[in-house]
Subunit: 190 residues, 4 copies
């Protein structure tokens, strides 16, 4: 399974070779077809789905158990986002896979939208709304329908750029995080 995720991530769906997945996993091609009778597509779907689930638990845990102002929560979530983009490669791989193949596998787009993007946007919107109510943020800030996406975009884009260009050439995620927080806090200030 890990083998499949890695192979797909490194080469894309079309270029990924069943034989390579098998040998990464230390088994033979035949066995792959035993477990995934649907072949490459079957394996691909399984690889993606198996990756998505554990992904958002941390963010939910953080938001659920948070004690502090909404300002601080937003900052913590943003830190988590930028932090995450610097650490675990599993999520990067997944993001890239989705990016690459989403338009050729509509179900993937659906999956991404419902399991990753929408929850993130909802979470962001809620935090801003609660912050407005609490006086942390300007009243009505959360009414702007595109705000959540604008808040999320730099975080995701930072990860995308790093995947494309490598950590050295991509815009620094630390600098982006600072500028991002600064801009948001000023822009949302009451």
């Amino acid at each position: 399974m890990d083998a499949a995720v890695e192979e797909f991530a490194e080469r894309g769906f079309a270029s990924a070779r069943m034989a390579a997945v098998a040998s990464r996993a230390g088994v033979t091609k035949g066995l792959l077809y035993h477990y995934f009778p649907g072949g490459k597509l079957d394996l691909f779907r399984a690889a993606i789905v198996g990756c998505v689930n554990p992904l958002f638990e941390e963010a939910r845990r953080l938001a659920a158990g948070f004690s502090g102002s909404r300002r601080e929560l937003l900052e913590a979530l943003i830190d988590l986002g930028y932090g995450r983009t610097e650490m675990e490669r599993r999520e990067h791989i997944l993001l890239k896979l989705l990016l690459i193949e989403a338009d050729r596998f509509p179900e993937l787009a659906e999956l991404y939208q419902s399991t990753m993007l929408q929850p993130s946007l909802d979470l962001a919107r809620e935090v801003v709304k609660a912050g407005s109510a609490a006086g942390d943020f300007r009243p009505g800030a959360a009414d702007e329908p595109g705000l959540a996406a604008v808040l999320l975009a730099p975080i995701v884009m930072s990860a995308v750029w790093r995947m494309m260009l490598g950590a050295e050439k991509a815009p620094s995620s630390q600098a982006m995080r600072n500028a991002h927080l600064d801009l948001i806090m000023r822009g949302l200030a009451p």
Copy 2:
């Protein structure tokens, strides 16, 4: 050339078939190799490069010939960015190709960085800096090193999401544009 861009866009680099490019273009495979002796890779490079150049001329023209406040220029540029993401499919295709294949072809990453990303960031920074000097924006706003990337990210991400999810499911670029402008103008205000 158009044929190549289309085929690559529809199928990705790995799945694109030389024969398909040839027949789309109404020539034979042999001729493709006459003009692109390096084969598929050569053709791919040529397709990308041929697309990149005309892309930034418009933005440069706009910035160069602009008469009005820096605030208005920034707004116009952002409109251009979001506008662009809504129109010509060609640039979307290009962006996607770069995103997907950049890490497999380091020269593409280099190309993207030097011809698209860096000029955009420079342009954004310049406008903010000039705006600060003119009193349109808060003094020192342009000193934040990650600011340009944060300003650019929502525009690019809007395009990425639309490519992945389709115009209906992706966050509305109109809404994002409004929220983005609102956030920036408040966040950069003196």
Copy 3:
């Protein structure tokens, strides 16, 4: 394997077609690549190597188990050489393949040198030396460093000419054998 040798022999390395080898062998091209992942070159190497080994066993057996004077042994070996050049086509094919492709595949040259040429020269030299010691041949005959090669050359050349020209037009190997033996016996006489 036989199929490969035949195809290579008939058409040369460059013109040999993998499909032809496969169909001669009654299998598909795919299977060829299953067993010879290195492709045509791999198959070629295997074909050559598989042919070389059995080739010199006979000569060694003859020399090892020989009872008689060294003069008679040398005669028997020369007969074997000329005899061999008249019989099995397989060895001729092999020789030709080596001749043709040796400079394009240095490992083949190495193979020929170490498994065919050098053992032959060593064997010839030993027999002459032993013959000198036994008084069959002139003392010091084996000290001439090029002698072994000169002894061997007419045998090999006889085969080469027959391959090139066919049995009718090439110098008769029977006549060469007689003249060769006569010249040697006189030239090496004490």
Copy 4:
């Protein structure tokens, strides 16, 4: 023309590329077909034929104008043979081409036999016969029908081995020349 000879020699008939010949010669493929309407085969034939003619003039000149004993003439001719194999690469190329393609182009075999091999054999036989008559060599030495071929073989084989193995690994042509002369002079002595 030179370009063609080199290309054919380096790659063999099948692997030789018309484009390579053209570019070696500094012209375009089209022009090749202007001069050799029969295509590759035409060019090949022309290349070979244009090489053969100048080849034997030197040997004939030497034999014709020689003043000295037959023993000395034979020695001079053998020296010429071994010497030649060390110098001009043109003849090596030709020899290899003939070796490689003779059985696929019967006319080449014919060409080789009539223009190179037969004259050489005839020359050798004549010298021996004249030497016998003059008392330089044993009476009746030239009657052995295979003698000329046996005399010629080490010279040719020396060249073949050097082509196959390179000058370092092939039996030394100097050593072969010495051993060859020694053996012949003893073997043909009255």
